[in-house]
Subunit: 347 residues, 2 copies
DNA sequence: CTGAAAGCGCTTACAG
DNA sequence: CTGAAAGCGCTTACAG
């Protein structure tokens, strides 16, 4: 299995009658090269179909020129993260960055494992949705000099560039909608309570209730993991209560899908017998029956902005940290009641 | 942004009082090292927390030791491929391979673009679902010495390791089921007809019809792209026919979701007014209303086997090519009629 | 069983 | 503006 290394810098240099240093210079175009020389080299590069070996470049450079980004995704089965990946990918490759991906399946050990591997791949940046318990580990990354941008949530132990959504407001709007449509007993399936994002959504939920004069009943706020199974089981638990909710607000995609499974398997009618509103919209929310009313956060946009931030961080390592908070959008369809249309969330 | 290169081989060698060659040997454990020496080196490695720099390793070696796999995914929004990715990832990292991913969004140019980038990343293997028109490009990869395994479909111009599913039989079983449940006018939304997988599914569809004495009506076999939008639009087209089908068989996930959108938006009852059966099962097929009857192909399993094949190919480049064809499973739920349970597809 | 040395394909001071 | 040379962190013949 002899994989050809392809045309090398040296071959280009020889053919163009210059030194490798010069060829390198025209490629990286940081230093000035005489127009005539440059043209000649460019021509040879084209002729030979030369493409720099990124591995060699990476080995040689120690700054942000390695052009490799490590992407740590909590759960690739969650359509929201798929959108984030798409956004990141599109804009990363456009900037000549490649992406190494690690899907850690909401598991702390695997997140560590991947970080270590990606380090030995000499990535020069990390994009990570930090898992509870990983605060110190991620902080270390920053201290070691990696560019890192957090998505979906930040770190509890330091400031950092983070791109997220206004979870509080998103949840608030959702619950207000439910109230407006007539519900007063609204269950909440919250997801993993260790994750800041979850807590923000809980706050939004509580605030909306309080504002509308509805008492908070801890019995109908249930949380375990942010996965499909939890959605299935916690919905059953809610429904089995002596005094069950008339509406359920689910804290993410996976939970929503799980909840729907339980609801349908019991033959309950949506929204007449039970209303449902989910955090996270999906491109196929309208393929559900009835179409799902959902809090939309644009993963694609988050991905785009993340690459932007990362790029700026690499270019100017000392720039102050920023936290970008995108607004959510409530997509009103028919799983909660009868109104239809969409309302922007307002802050 | 000075990213620390970490502890180097040299530092380990110095501290252990041996040459770098020896340390390298104990790491790669291909050649014999004296037990005592090995122990000493191991200890220092542990002490210093040494981890080999994979980039340097990659630059140096030219065979299958680069430990990097390029993964070319047609469409990461398709849950089937998400499962494939999960399978690949899990088993790749277990074998100490890292994955660079390129999601080319069913676009030929982007597939080429990614292949080129991944080459310059010195991957030693490619996993690819070849897009129509890419036959020669992929063949070249093989000729250049890369290990490549195809998923979902092979190449038309050469044999190769391929891991796929019995599409003919899967479609056949699906259509037979529809017939058994009472349908005789079954529409087919086929997806991209340039893709061999599509053609196999069309054959299965036609064979089942013919076997059951139903004439093939080209008017209700419609195909364009294998995406959501096509599903939405072609379903409308089918439904608008003077003599519309009573059942629709969709050729993949995305098409199914698109079809559902149209069906629900028209307020049609499933399965009474229109039955639907989809190729590709999803873990949330039971969250649909009614639960979807679907042809299940295990993406996760495909991923697992792919890594296996790749590994063997790297170890023994000259071994004969194999084509692994997995069976599908018809998951009978309630979107087609009243029977319930599941039947294995049989060949 | 082990070491000295070359080299993978680049980039980057250092001279000129 | 350009070249000669060192070196990134490894692995691998070649000797011994």
């Amino acid at each position: 299995m002899a994989i050809p290394k392809g045309v090398s810098l040296k071959e280009v240099a020889d053919k163009a009658g210059v030194s490798t240093a010069t060829v390198s210079r025209v490629i990286n175009s940081k230093t000035v090269v005489k127009g005539e020389t440059e043209l000649r080299v460019q021509k040879v590069i084209k002729q030979l179909g030369y493409r720099p070996n990124r591995v060699a470049q990476r080995l040689r450079t120690t700054n942000g020129a390695s052009k490799l980004i490590g992407l740590l995704i909590p759960d690739i089965q969650n359509p929201f993260y798929v959108d984030v990946i798409r956004g990141i990918e599109q804009y990363a490759y456009a900037r000549n960055f490649a992406i190494v991906i690690g899907n850690f399946s909401q598991n702390e050990e695997r997140q560590k494992f991947y970080i270590d591997i990606l380090k030995s791949e000499s990535v020069d940046a990390f994009i990570v949705a930090p898992f509870p318990g990983m605060n110190d580990y991620v902080k270390e990354l920053v201290e070691e000099g990696y560019a890192v941008v957090c998505i979906d949530r930040g770190l509890s132990n330091m400031d950092l560039d983070v791109v997220k959504v206004d979870n509080y407001q998103g949840a608030f709007d959702a619950v207000e909608h439910l109230v407006k449509v007539g519900h007063r007993r609204i269950g909440f399936i919250s997801g993993n309570m260790q994750i800041p994002t979850t807590l923000e959504r809980v706050s939004g939920y509580e605030a909306a209730l309080t504002k509308n004069g509805i008492a908070i009943d801890r019995e109908i706020i249930v949380g375990r993991n942010s996965d499909h199974t939890s959605g299935v089981e916690l919905t059953a638990q809610l429904l089995d209560l002596p005094h069950p909710p008339t509406a359920i607000f689910t804290s993410n995609n996976l939970l929503t899908l799980g909840a729907l499974e339980t609801i349908h398997s019991r033959g309950l009618k949506i929204p007449e017998e039970i209303a449902i509103l989910g955090f996270d919209d999906m491109y196929w929310s309208t393929s559900l029956n009835p179409p799902l009313t959902a809090v939309r956060q644009s993963g694609f946009e988050i991905g785009r902005i993340t690459i932007d931030l990362l790029y700026q961080r690499i270019m100017e390592p000392a720039r102050p940290y920023v936290s970008i908070v995108l607004k959510t959008e409530l997509m009103v369809r028919t799983s909660c009641g009868h109104k239809s249309g969409k309302m922007k969330s307002t802050i």
